[in-house]
């Protein structure tokens, strides 16, 4: 009892100290704000934002309230983060494997790429890609069509928009196909465990995900049309494209810069993961008659992933947080729109900055939770 009490004392004082420090800062901010006639509150979120956003995934208009501007900006941040994570994973894996290639040229190109891109500050790279894009891309009237339907111009990348009819039926069929694949996989596993037979799971899955949605076009009344961007003259020398989807050059530059930068770190994680699996493992696998494909899939990758995933999680978090550098090149992300324009128009610095910080914190925690779940799933299950 006495011992327990003794152990509690330092903890109690630490807690007290933390509470006091927070209390002091809150009190201080309160007093200073009172003195300067600034009131604290989140009521402004319901007010009309009355500014426009360049690019938004949801329907946003200046008549909408600030909280809706926040949602639009958050989605833009998420868009860059998701695109960046996908792209940097692809590049990272390719480069990481390339660094272990037996081909001199491939191995050294990959090494140079990694050393070059990871050693230049990200902000500079973002500026480079943005201004390089602005300088190098053609004006809308000079753009050559890509595949006849897309235009990459200084004002943006204009691609055809998809116009669906009965989109819900199509989506149901995709969901059905996924459920089908899960059932097939479970059955295949059981079959292998009980009778030692192997099903061509991959081909069955592939045909399911292609055939089912395709059927909906034939019998489900689903149809898909493309709206192709058309050039429009604004004045004697300025043009733009209307119709289709216009991706701003800021989005392209930012995604490119973030993925190329983060991919260098992921490449190193991948290399470490593959090199971390002992040579003996591969030899042992070969000796029991597995083919190279099976060795990679069943022996090397499961062990390599355990090394790769935790540091890669860090890189995903970094990429998401680094996306806030968007503000430098006019990409309307959370920092530019919410912690920028909205903060300026309302003057609610403390409120907006805390919301923004909490948002990034939640985003990071969500990504970390997802990756930790995946890590748990692939880690050694001791029996």
């Amino acid at each position: 009892m006495n011992n327990k009490f003794k152990r509690l004392i330092p903890q109690f004082f630490t807690l007290l100290l933390v509470v006091l420090i927070f209390g002091f800062f809150t009190f201080n901010a309160q007093v200073n704000m009172d003195n300067r006639g600034i009131d604290f509150g989140f009521g402004f979120l319901k007010q009309e934002a009355s500014f426009d956003i360049q690019f938004s995934l949801v329907d946003y208009d200046g008549l909408d309230p600030y909280w809706w501007a926040y949602v639009a900006a958050l989605l833009n941040t998420l868009l860059v983060a998701v695109l960046g994570i996908i792209l940097c994973t692809i590049i990272g894996v390719i480069v990481g494997v390339a660094r272990l290639s037996s081909n001199y040229l491939i191995r050294n190109t990959a090494a140079w790429y990694v050393e070059f891109f990871r050693n230049i500050p990200l902000l500079l790279q973002i500026f480079f890609w943005y201004y390089a894009a602005l300088r190098a891309l053609p004006l809308p009237q000079d753009a050559e069509p890509l595949l006849g339907v897309s235009y990459l111009t200084i004002k943006g990348f204009y691609i055809p928009a998809m116009i669906w009819e009965n989109l819900n039926i199509f989506l149901y069929s995709v969901i059905l196909a996924i459920i089908g694949i899960v059932i097939v996989r479970t059955y295949a596993r059981k079959l292998q465990e009980n009778e030692g037979k192997q099903l061509p799971v991959f081909y069955i899955s592939l045909s399911l995900i292609i055939i089912l949605p395709f059927l909906t076009f034939l019998v489900g009344g689903v149809s898909l049309d493309f709206e192709i961007p058309v050039i429009k003259q604004l004045s004697i020398t300025s043009f733009t494209y209307v119709g289709g989807i216009g991706l701003p050059p800021e989005l392209i530059a930012l995604t490119l810069a973030l993925s190329l930068y983060t991919a260098t770190f992921i490449a190193e994680c991948v290399r470490a993961g593959i090199q971390g699996v002992g040579k003996g493992q591969k030899e042992a696998a070969a000796s029991i008659g597995l083919n190279p494909n099976q060795i990679l899939k069943l022996v090397v990758m499961p062990q390599a992933l355990r090394i790769i995933i935790p540091p890669t999680t860090n890189q995903y978090l970094n990429l998401t947080k680094n996306s806030s550098l968007a503000a430098a090149i006019a990409y309307p992300d959370l920092v530019l729109v919410f912690a920028g324009t909205a903060l300026m128009q309302t003057g609610k610095a403390i409120e907006i900055v805390s919301i923004t910080m909490l948002t990034y914190l939640s985003l990071s925690l969500a990504i970390a939770a997802l990756m930790n779940w995946y890590n748990k799933k692939i880690e050694i299950k001791e029996k």
Binding site: D52, L134, K155, Q233, L234, S235, S238, T240, T341, M344
Partner: protein, 346 residues
């Protein structure tokens, strides 16, 4: 007897109230900002990151411009030396936080006076040192000569966190034109993007357009359209809650404008001390106790005029002679057809 006591108490109460009132005003005279400024030995002034004519630093780091001159005037008034100013370049986004958090004491950064800024966020506007309005710049080759030729799908580059963003929306909405806003934090980035062809038009205050045009790769290829879509009274701002400091900044600006009205310049200010006109004598500290109200000596205004000059001199030096806006337009004195009109110093 009872009545007498009652009268006596009310008299005592009145004296007490008066006493409290006077000590209150005496206390208010002691401006905390003024005291801190005098202790530090320099005025902390927030300016732009480079807007020729308003606040711009040369290669040697010397700041010039009409906004800079407001801070110099305050330094001349309270410290006796117009050069004792520490300039902090701020983006549009940072400026108000810098002021309310106490990093600077005057914000003189082509800032538009609006109701919400004045009332909401702990700021007080002290006056107007430049009457401006928002306009549009386009490429000459586009053939556009009026905003009525703007078409759906136009993209407009501008600065983040400014009244410009809101005016632009009001303007395009009222005309029923759909547009793409591209907003940057720094003015240089806006100019670079517009110059590269990212936007069809660049919109900000007309003075800003005139000043930034000089930075473009070939200024003659661009024109500022004649339309003005908003009122932009630009002026210095101080923190709310220090009435004396607010008055000092306000009357430093007013002194510059009034000096021009009475023909007092940096070169003739000393000789004006013997003028017959009492109004002129008050402006050069030769009559009345014009500084006592702020806790300053009597020649504070003379120092402003001698060291910084009157408003006309400042305008000529910074805006007219640099070719930004040779014509003073509304920024001419009320006696000469403009709208510059300040309350009298007396």
């Amino acid at each position: 007897m009872f009545k007498l006591i009652k009268q006596l108490t009310s008299f005592v109460a009145m004296v007490a109230v008066l006493f409290v009132f006077t000590t209150e005003t005496m206390a208010a005279k002691k401006s905390k900002t003024l005291k801190n400024t005098q202790k530090k030995g320099f005025v902390r002034c927030g300016v732009s990151q480079g807007l020729p004519g308003f606040s711009n630093a040369d290669a040697a780091g010397n700041w010039t411009g009409v906004d800079v001159d407001v801070c110099r005037a305050v330094a001349a008034a309270v410290l006796g030396d117009a050069n004792k100013v520490k300039f902090t370049p701020l983006s549009a986004k940072e400026r108000f936080t810098a002021l309310t958090s106490g990093e600077i004491d005057i914000l003189s950064r082509n800032t538009t006076w609006t109701l919400s800024r004045d009332a909401d966020i702990g700021l007080t506007f002290v006056g107007v040192n430049f009457y401006d309005g928002q306009g549009f710049m386009v490429r000459k080759s586009s053939g556009i000569t009026s905003t009525s030729q703007f078409k759906d799908g136009i993209s407009a580059c501008t600065n983040l966190g400014t009244t410009t963003e809101l005016n632009m929306r009001d303007f395009f909405n009222s005309k029923g034109i759909s547009y793409t806003p591209v907003t940057f934090e720094k003015a240089d980035e806006v100019v670079a993007a517009y110059d590269a062809g990212r936007c069809d038009t660049y919109t900000t205050d007309k003075s800003g357009l005139a000043a930034q045009r000089i930075k473009l790769s070939s200024p003659d290829d661009h024109i500022v359209l004649p339309e003005t879509i908003s009122k932009e009274p630009l002026g210095p701002v101080v923190r709310q809650g220090d009435a004396v400091w607010e008055d000092i900044v306000r009357w430093s600006l007013n002194t510059m404008i009034e000096a021009e009205e009475y023909g007092i310049t940096s070169s003739n200010a000393d000789s004006m001390k013997t003028s017959d006109n009492p109004q002129i004598k008050r402006l050069v500290g030769a009559e009345g106790e014009m500084g006592a109200a702020f806790g300053l000596d009597n020649e504070w205004n003379l120092r402003i005029i001698k060291q910084v000059g009157n408003y006309g001199e400042s305008y000529k030096r910074n805006i007219a002679d640099t070719g930004i806006l040779p014509d003073r337009g509304p920024n001419e004195l009320w006696t000469k057809g403009g709208i510059l009109y300040v309350p009298p110093s007396r």
